[in-house]
Symmetry: D2
Subunit: 363 residues, 4 copies
């Protein structure tokens, strides 16, 4: 099921950019959770287009509707189906894309794979698909908060070559949301916004790096071999549009240290086993160790630019293409809630798996 | 099934470092494939300990035996079970590990998760688990070669801070295997070996970076949303012991480019749709585009070092630990065949999934 | 994913009887299949309530809408989401069910499992859930017909104790649909209808047996061990509301024969390996042998009756309950298209699995 | 993964009748369970050939060995791999089967599916495959006993046309094991044994019916839609060699009752919600209701008989075949522990799934 994610708390997303709508079905949600549609909407509002002047001006309210699984304000344990109707669909704007493969987009590969494609706005490859992820992630996040005061915080550390200073500080949600660029370091945020506006003026685009930290996780989440916590997080992140890299803890930089510098010593602290440093990034042997989970995700510059580019058409002829109209010079700020959503989905799923195997029986 | 990987060509690995043995069951292997146990053995010999003077001196022949699924030299389509008995088991050497959590190892997290653990050589968290992956990967590799002349080549580009020059050249197997460090650039290889010997002399360890390239892939492998080719590769790589990062194509460095610099233009070449550059690394929208697949994996320095380290014991007391005896100063060279094996498993699985959905029926 | 079925052609159903609607998401549908919403509607019309005077008078048009996965009249290979809004919802009629557990319904077990439930019309346990199955089955059926002229025909062989004569004849769709009871033997059909009307007059209900036959299947569908064709069919059938039994080929009666009477001899016929008899029911060793697939499903009498029954309320007190209002004296006729839909889903999934493993590569 | 079963407590079986051995890998076993190899062996001894004079004389000790997952007498939470070497392999006895398809066996369908097969003793289609199931089931059974005093009891109610009287009595293990035929009604058992010996004398075979009852189950096991408890049990049973039917509770006979006769009234008993009758067989809406689980399985007469039968050879010529040598006139007695094993696997898996979704969090 290539459109499903998770093993116990499972989501299945569906929908195309310019079809009737997009949505998600959640299977395995615990029953009796108080849940209002406004809680989902709040997270969707963080990812919707048109929320600030540095992202795409596509106007979509993205109003979400519960179709099942919630009764009298509580989840029932049966599938939760959520629907967001597409509103600002402008199929006419995509006539040229029907004929020409946009460089570094999925147009050509979809055509090669399926033999046909819905060219309107990228169809299934559109980032609108992530609406279902964010909606489901809002529920996962709420459960994690109720279960263990788990806090998930993603934020931008770099846009293009503008990088915030390294910090140990766990940013508050308010600090992240203080600017539309979602970088919690105010001075850097200002420079990032300037840069994004500058490239937008050139009809060009930039990418960047998102860091995600999680605190409040118990030790024991993650599975020994293939379903290591960092493996499932890596898959979750690389399944997002425009991502090119993932690293946990010390990441690529850590490979430049020697073992004696890199190892995290254990010590007893407040009666618990703790590490003195956190180069492991909160996971050891694929399993959470109770320290802060820390990872970073690389987002390439948006493929859609307003400059003319060489390409090929569906008939196999060399040609040229210049996108017109709406244009998102940097998708990274809107990706912040998506990274949080996917993180919540991975963590909740592992929480339930861990409980099933290790807490159901006492011998 | 946390110990299984793949959806159509599925492997399940089992076994601990110092138990009776380790092994793998493959489910879904196509029938009628000519297969000799020697073909598996050849790949296992590339990962086995003691193969050179820069890796662990643990002496294991790692002789593999077919227990099922192969009849008169051909696969039958039923599960292929393979067994490697453990030989050089020295449980006594691990008495101290039974009591003390080794820093940056999985000792503490296993204990926290399961409430008990097999402390002998790390038990299930030992890299011996990867024997099953390499055995299964040998079969996947063979099928890919027969199916489409697909070539998978992993090699070391960096050890500690010693890095080979960037090259477009697709290294031959002979070039990679020319030195025990598996770096195809001879001068760099020499320096890497020196560095590894130097840190070994200090009782210390180093990590590095492996690059993997694949040529001969058809366009169309990978699924649109969660099971993107790069997502499944990221999961595969982060499921390997000691990995801390993954990047595909331009990776983290690509985030410093603008869209106009980063996009890969399409052009017709020899009657096929091709890209002029390959910052995408062979995947667009999660699906192979027929260009070379290129990704890199970060390996941290080995956690086991011979220097004294602070840690905690199972009774919750601060203490100190110094590993004794066998010691692998750099696991990266032996990880090369493992990276190739996991890559082959991901690619073959996607090949079969793609065929099932898109080539079974003609409408 | 307890609300999903299938491995390559996968469906996920969602929805409650009296919530906003019910629906299904299909993942893995082959691309390029011509598909009109009317083709789905035609199958839904065969299962909808109110279609004749011997079934429930609940009035629902059950209009289906494509939300994704179909573009310009063809499937795109991405998830097909279908929605049917609930119309004739009368929550007030269910006030009593909110307090009292209906005998032989799922009220008590849902409450016991989840700690709460949506009591309106049985919520998720309502047979309205099967709308999604029938909608998905319509697509599976079409693919099987195009792929190999596969014909799936279910029909009623018994209602209560009224049974049609045993026949070797493969009934036509017209013969089955000739009467609302869907028994292809006209004289028996008349008597069945009389019996259903008689028990309806008593406020009572009856069950019966559905037989399903499939012709045109190639040999080779089904997997050796757990996913035998008959095992997956058994699961599919026992997953339907009100089913209590399944048998394939000779079934329970076959256990009264000796091996020499029961075995199906092979013979060459028209250049193909055939059996002279078909006590196997078209499967041997879990795999189709190219003969007609034959199985039967037992449906208990509908649990909802208009007579007073002893029961217990949610507060743990003995009480009495008499259903009022709409009442379906025999659900078996409407189950015929549902049995066909589930059969189609099982067969198509195995067709794709077989192709993936055995037809993707030639060695 | 056609050779795997279960979602949280998962087994993967492998092996052929005359290959090096057969085995199973269990993934997801809870840690810290005390477990001795003798406990597995005891269950295997109940299914092994040669245990009495009414079953196959094939001599196999079927000694099981733990290869992983158990350390110092306790499970570690990692995969448990078990191996049974094949001993009494007589490949020469199967030369004729290599050329000729045995009627009502899997020879032809395997050949049709895979294009080749291991003909020795049926290869993968041999009932030796069930050794892995019984070994895994022994562990599942033990956990269920420790978790809730759950008792699973299968027994033969009919051989050919010899049937024991209907009883409400839950037979003890001693009553079942009192005779080699595993029918707890002594007089009937004697007649069954006579019948089996009589057909053996004719070189013929008989089948029969196994009933399985489970007491001690809590309400709440099973999932609403596809993974109903009876659906998973039906699949489990129809996945066994030689099975042709499954029914739960009132089964096929129940279809002859009216709703007013068939419904199980609820009543309060000893402070719990109970039913006055048990036509539901312990499941309602797919979920256990706390009553005794009751189902029956039909086994056809063994296909291997010593009489000459018409068949076809691999070259497509009509021919004749008469099995020689070892012959099992009735497999049903040895199927009793296998039915129990599969039941335990289904129940434990649902227990863990139920706990994961409904008991992990409290809101």
């Amino acid at each position: 099921m290539p459109n499903s994610f998770g093993t116990l708390f499972t989501i299945t997303t569906w929908g195309e950019s310019h079809g009737p709508g997009v949505g998600v079905v959640i299977d395995g949600c615990p029953p009796n959770l108080p849940l209002a549609v406004e809680e989902i909407q709040a997270e969707l509002d963080r990812r919707r287009p048109g929320q600030s002047d540095i992202v795409t001006p596509r106007q979509e309210e993205d109003r979400v509707e519960f179709l099942s699984g919630v009764h009298e304000g509580r989840t029932t344990g049966t599938p939760i189906s959520m629907l967001v109707r597409n509103a600002d669909a402008r199929p006419a704007a995509y006539d040229e894309m029907k004929e020409k493969f946009r460089p570094s987009h999925a147009d050509y590969t979809y055509q090669a794979k399926f033999g046909l494609r819905d060219p309107r706005g990228g169809g299934r490859s559109s980032a609108r698909e992530t609406i279902g992820r964010v909606a489901a992630g809002a529920i996962a996040k709420k459960i994690l908060t109720l279960a263990g005061a788990v806090e998930i915080r993603a934020f931008i550390t770099r846009v293009h070559d503008i990088e915030m200073p390294v910090t140990e500080h766990f940013p508050s949600l308010a600090e992240v949301e203080a600017t539309p660029v979602r970088c919690p370091h105010p001075e850097t945020a200002v420079r990032m916004i300037e840069r994004i506006k500058a490239v937008r003026g050139q009809g060009d685009s930039v990418g960047g790096v998102i860091e995600c930290r999680v605190r409040g996780l118990p030790p024991g989440l993650g599975e020994p071999v293939f379903d290591r916590l960092e493996a499932d997080l890596a898959k979750a992140m690389l399944s997002l549009p425009a991502t090119k890299g993932f690293e946990v803890g010390s990441g690529f930089a850590g490979t430049r240290l020697q073992g004696s510098e890199h190892n995290d010593s254990f010590e007893m602290r407040a009666g618990r086993v703790r590490t003195t440093t956190n180069r492991s990034g909160g996971v050891q042997g694929g399993i959470s160790n109770g320290e802060e989970l820390v990872f970073r995700v690389a987002f390439k510059p948006t493929a859609t630019i307003l400059q003319a580019q060489k390409t090929v058409d569906v008939h196999g002829h060399d040609t040229e293409l210049a996108a017109r109209g709406r244009h998102d010079p940097c998708v990274v700020p809107r990706a912040v809630p998506i990274v949080e959503a996917m993180t919540a989905l991975v963590l909740l799923d592992h929480w339930m798996r861990h409980a099933a195997q290790n807490q159901t029986f006492k011998f």
